[in-house]
Structure formats: C-alpha cells, structure tokens
Symmetry: none
Subunit: 237 residues, 4 copies
C-alpha cells in the first residue's frame, strides 16, 4: 500500500506549477533548485517525476501548448461569428499577455538549443505547433494553412516584440489593423476567386488543402468581419 498518488496527475500538476518560474527566467537562467523551491517540493521529487531538467522542459512545452489550445477553443467555441472569435481571441491575448509571452519564450528557449534539423524532427515541438495551427483553424474557421501561419507569425511577433519595443505597439490597435487587413484580403479574394477562377493566367497563389470547407468559410469570414469589434478598450491613435 504505497502512498497514494496518481503519478500522471501529479506530474501534470508539477508541470503547470513549473511553468511560471521556467518561462519567466528562461530555461538556462533558472536552476532546478529554484524550480523546486517555487513549486514547493524537493529537487529529489522533481527528479522523481522528470528524468532531467531538459526533459522537464520538453514536457512543459508540450503540456502548455496543449492547455492553450483548450483554452482558446473553450473561450471561442460558443461564438457564432468569426469576427467575434477573432476579437475574443485577441482579448484573451491582451488579458493574459504575459502568460502567452512566457509560453512563446519557452518554445524559443527550447528550440534554440536544437539544430534546425532537430527542430523539424522533434515530436514535442512539432506536435505543439501542429496543435496550435489546428486550434486556430477550427476557432477561426480558416483553412488556408498559409493564412493560419501568417496569423501565427503575426501574433507571436506581436507578443515578443512588445518585450523589447515596449509600449510602442499595442495589442488592440494591431488587432484592429489585422482585422481590417483580413477583411480587405478576404473580400478581394472573393471578388477574384483565384482558385476555381476562370481568369486564365492568374496563378493560384495558395494551394488550399480542403477546398470545400474553405470556400464556404471564407465567404462567411469576409462578411462577418467587423473590424470595429476588434478594437478593444483602447482607441486607435
């Protein structure tokens, strides 16, 4: 009759407790002792659940990304219009900015000690990214993978850039601008539907995986996109 502990569950609990310290200071700047202290266990316990600092870190990356997808989903699932979802998404971003910054920094920290090849092969990393991309696709109803990645780049850039440009840039203002650009872009696409288009030498700019789905969704998107909704409390300057 051992001490009754659900190993898996407790492991996850530890992970979520670890996140703050590790992400804040950075993988290399934080020590296992510091982590253990902040989490409230001994280093031995940490090593009881994770074979090494690196492994703890890797598991943390996977764990946090998973959590995120869930949160985004649950926050936006009930919303009807895409523009609403976008708005709520950026609201969440602004609200928990530090958290998302930490998370992105963690992925950078992690990836930085790998070679490009290793990054491409690393299951945790690729799984996390894949999950996030899928999350965005579902939440926003976009199925142009290139557009999804565009959003990813933009959002991560926005988060990270705010770390070193400070208040020069603002989430609501940038969100609003993104909304406008999306609207314009999608509208233009509809006007000149490049894919099943008839205009002869206009090359199809992006090959879209799931055509059927995409067609309807994008139409919906351009109509619904209500830029104003994206601007939060802050007014545009």
């Amino acid at each position: 009759m051992p001490k009754i502990v659900d190993h898996e569950e407790y492991r996850k609990e530890l992970l979520s407790k670890c996140f703050e310290v590790i992400a804040e200071k950075g993988y290399n700047a934080v020590t296992m002792r510091q982590i253990a202290q902040r989490v409230g266990v001994s280093t031995g316990t940490l090593y009881h659940y994770f074979p090494s600092k690196e492994s703890l870190f890797e598991q943390l990356v996977g764990f946090v990304c998973e959590q995120d997808s869930f949160e985004f989903m649950s926050r936006t699932a009930h919303l009807e219009s895409v523009s609403e979802r976008l708005r709520v998404g950026f609201e969440l971003l602004a609200e928990r900015e530090e958290y998302f910054q930490h998370q992105t920094l963690m992925m950078l920290d992690f990836a930085r000690q790998l070679s490009l090849e290793e990054v491409n092969c690393n299951e945790t990393l690729q799984g996390s990214v894949e999950g996030t991309e899928q999350g965005i696709m579902h939440c926003l109803g976009i199925d142009d993978i290139e557009l999804v990645r565009f959003l990813g780049n933009f959002v991560d850039g926005l988060l990270l850039r705010r770390l070193y440009v400070g208040d020069r840039t603002s989430i609501p203002r940038q969100a609003a601008l993104l909304g406008e650009m999306l609207q314009a872009y999608l509208a233009s696409k509809q006007a000149a539907p490049t894919e099943p288009s008839v205009e002869p030498p206009v090359e199809p700019p992006v090959e879209i995986p799931d055509q059927a789905l995409k067609q309807t969704l994008e139409k919906k998107l351009s109509k619904e996109l209500d830029t104003a909704a994206l601007v939060g409390q802050e007014e545009r300057n």
Copy 2:
C-alpha cells in the same frame, strides 16, 4: 593616443565576432570559453577587453542595435516601385535570415531581464527600434506608423517562429501572402479612406522624414503590388 584607438577598434572587432555565438546559443547558454574559442582568443583576452560576461553582453546589444537596418536602405533605395522594395526586402531577409534572427534574439535576451518600464526607458533599445521603424517607413514609403509596426511584428514573428516551427513556414510564401494582404488593404483604404472619416486628404498621420519619397509611393503601392514578384524561387505550396 594611438593605443586607445587600437584598443577601441579591437574591442569592436571582438564584439562583432562575439555576436554570432552569443545570439545563437543565448546569453545564458553560452560560456565565456565557447565565446573565446569561436572568436579565436583566450578567455583572458576577453576579460582584458570586457570586465564581465554581462558587460560584454550589454556592449554587444548596444553594438548590434547601432549598426542596424541600414542595409535595407542601401539595398532598396534605388528601386522605384514599392512592391519591388518589398520583394527585395524579403529577399534580403531570406538571404541573411540567421543574422536577423540573431539580432532579434539578442534584443529579446536583453529585454527579458528588464521590466516593461525599463524597456520603455532604455535608450539603446528604443533607439534601435525607432531606427528600424524609420527605416521601414523610408524604404517602403509607408507613413501609417501602425502599419509599420504591423510589418515589424510580422517580420520578427516570421523570423523567430521559424526557429521553433522549423520548415513549416517559409519566408517567400509568407512574403507573398503579406503582399496580397497589403495590396487588398491599401486598395480598400483608398476606396473608403480612413474608416468613418469623410475628409479625404486631411491628416498626415505620421511625420515621415523623407517626404519626397513618401509622397508618390503610397499611391503607387496599391497599383504596383505585384504579388507574384514576392514569391522567390520557392513555389507556393
């Protein structure tokens, strides 16, 4: 005082040689010995020119921030059309991707140990960012500062994200998409200038240094934007 000149000069030479290693691995992950080795000197020499690792890092940040982004200018100054400039800009980005990643990573590394307030006050950081923003404005002839920052966010996000998403995202494809979005966005703006506003050419939203250049460029932009040009050797997927 020829000696001092030599000393200073050599210090800068060392700094520029340090850049790559430190940026690549990160301040905390790289050791002074590794730096010394890559630079080709002894640790003693490093300590002869820099009082500490931290100081070396700070000086390096300053050094990197100084010599910024003027390559963009020189590469694009002679180009007439904005789309050309965008294309060449992203070409440069792809070509020297690692360098730009390193630059951004350094600023992140540095800013990370500062509070938001400190970031806002830090002259080195703000000066560098200011310079970059001005650079983009000049080069592309955009005077909407929000749009400039949008581009900054996007570009930095693209660069950094590639570090952890690996080859999932590609510079040329994303550049092409950005081109299309810009085109659509600017076109829509021209059609219905500044959202609820009616007064057409009223406010010069941001003060642009190089007026002459700016004047015509923005008009041209929407017409000229030739998305295809942005797609480099790679085909869109």
Copy 3:
C-alpha cells in the same frame, strides 16, 4: 513464534538474492534501488529487513562466508584419486566461475574497509578462510598448510585476474599447468624429503582432520597426477 521464523527465513532468502548484484557491482557501486529491483522488492522492504545498506552488506558477508565450499567436498568426496579431485575441483570452478568470483569479491570488498589487524581478528573472515583451507586439505588430502595456501592464492588469483585480464587466461589451461607443477613438486619432495632434513617420515607437519583419507592420498598424488585429465574441452594454446 511462527512470525519470527518466517521473518528470519525471508531475511535469509533476501540475502541470498542480494548476493549476486552486490558482489557483481561492488558495495559502493550498487544502489539500494538496484538491489531492490533485482531482488524484486521495494526499497522499503529492504529497509524493513535490514537497518541500513551497510548492515545488509555485513550480514551478506557473514551469510556468504557461512555456506562456503562444502560443494567442493560433496562433489569430490566419492573420488578416489587426487588428480581426479583436482580435475573435478577445477571443473566446478570453471562451471560456477562467476559465483566464486562474487564470493571472493565480497570478501575483498569487506576486508578493504578494515585494517590488517581487524582482518586478523575478524571472526567471520577468519572462520570462512579456515573453513576453506580445511576443505582443500580434506578434498585433496594435502597436509602441507603452505601448499594449501599456495593453492588458495593461485585459485583466487586465477578467479580475480580473469576479471581484468579477460580471456587472456583460461581456467583449464592454468589448471593443467598447476597439475604438472604439483606433480613435479611432490615427486621432488618424495625423492628428497624436506630440504636439508634427513629424517624421513618424521613430522606430521599439519594436523589433518580426516586422517584416514590423508594417509594414502599424498603417496598416490605424485604417481597419479595425470595432467591431461585437467585439461578440459579447451586445448592448450
């Protein structure tokens, strides 16, 4: 007190199961967890039966010393000729080489942490050695204690040396050589009894327990020693 019987019995069972791991890796190199795993219990159980690692080790030494060398007796008791006994003895040695190595290693491990004086006084150790010497005397019918110890040194050296010289040395080949040397030596002794001595059958040099056996055997020895018999399957190189 049936519980106590069970407890004691199980303790011994645990000891015998511990033997292999501990002897193989060495007291200092093996961990309690490794021991527990190989034995198939938890560390908690180990500590339930033994107050500490050190105590476990000491009890193990005692245990191993106790149950010593009687296999030799039982295997060789029925054999008439000495050469046969030698042959069978070395066969047993080769067969259970690892076991004997482990036994010797344990005694080394144990003795190593004692001073020479302590070794001389330690009853467990001396008892075990005494028993082994007596065993050899009985088995081979040798009553020259110096010769018995010579054999002990040789056998232990052979066992241990194989641990670090590897396959350079082989039990059958060395056994054969030993047989030849013994034969030559005993023959020479008979021819010129005890070096400068003249009195032929004078002193019974060492007290031998089993006289009956001894009496005839030594005479036989030199005649019978049939070297070839000692060479096992392996040919001499």
Copy 4:
C-alpha cells in the same frame, strides 16, 4: 605568455599523486573532492586535466602499470641469475606490498564496472596486462606465456588474499614454495622435454610460442633456481 606548465608532465604528476587515495579507498568510495584535497589542487584543476572521474581512473590504471613494469625491470635488470631476479622480485613485492595491493585493487575496481567483452576490448586494461606480462617474461627470462600467467595469477592472488586472510599467508614463505615448485617443474620438463621430445605418446602439455628462445632460457632457469634464496628474512614455519 601563459602560465608555464608542461601539461603532459603535470598530468602525470597529478596521476601519481592521485594513486594513493583512489587505490586505498577504491574508485567508488572516493570522491573527486577528496582526491583533489589529498592531491592539493581544486576540483576544477582535476577536471582541467581529466575530463571525468572515470577517465582519470582509466588513465591512472594505465599509468601505474607502466610505472610498475619500469620498476621491476630496473630493479632486476642488472641481476644475472633468474633465481636472483625472482628473489628480488618478491622482495620488492613484500617491501611495497600495500602499493601493489592497491594497484591490483584498482584494476579490479576498474574492470568491475565493465562487462567481460568490454574488458577484452579495453585498450588501457589490455595494454597494461600485456605490458606486465612482457615485463615478467623479460625479467625472469620465461617465455612460456602460460607459465607467465600462472605467476601473475599466483602473485595477484597472494597480494589480494592477504587482504582478507590477513597474516595467515606470508609472502616470503609462499615465494619460497613457488621457487621450489618452479625448480621441480622446470627440472621435470628438462628431464622429459615434452616439446621436441622423442618419447612417443607423451602429449605436449603446453604449446610454447617462441621455441628457440624458450629452450635455452628454461634450461638456465632450472639450474639457477636456488630456492633458499627466495626465503627472505622470515623462516619457513
């Protein structure tokens, strides 16, 4: 102009200083800190010269064996008769018993953490053993490799056994006995030269590599062997 230190030379100096501590306590029982303290340097310095504890240990094994061969050679080289050499050899053994025990223990310690296969492949180990065997061959003028190994087994057994049997066994007495056995054995070989022998079905017990050399040397050996010389200060009991 660095601090002037002959890296190689100092490494060897460190090795020889390390020997005592490591051999005495055993590889696993001694800590790097203890070693450093006893040697009189910092742990950092130890790691400056040796990449790991294991490597230090391995180099030590090689180093010490090399030293030994030298010592044996230099001590016996000037002696004419083989029996003299044997005598002096055992004198050296008795004189520096602890040292040789330590050395043998070290090899055991080292080999113990390897598998049999690894032992067979390990260059340091095999090199050391090979060197020692060659040393004995040259010193004693024996070229029957099996006999050389017999001596190795016996000597190592004698050394190690004394660790746990204590004073029961004595180097001089055993050395004397070995002398007698060798004499008897070699004499018997000469009487019935099994190799180029004429006696028909007498099987050649040992196949000797270098026949020519061996033949003369062994003849010399049996004549010269003066057993009495081997008994040191101690009388036979």
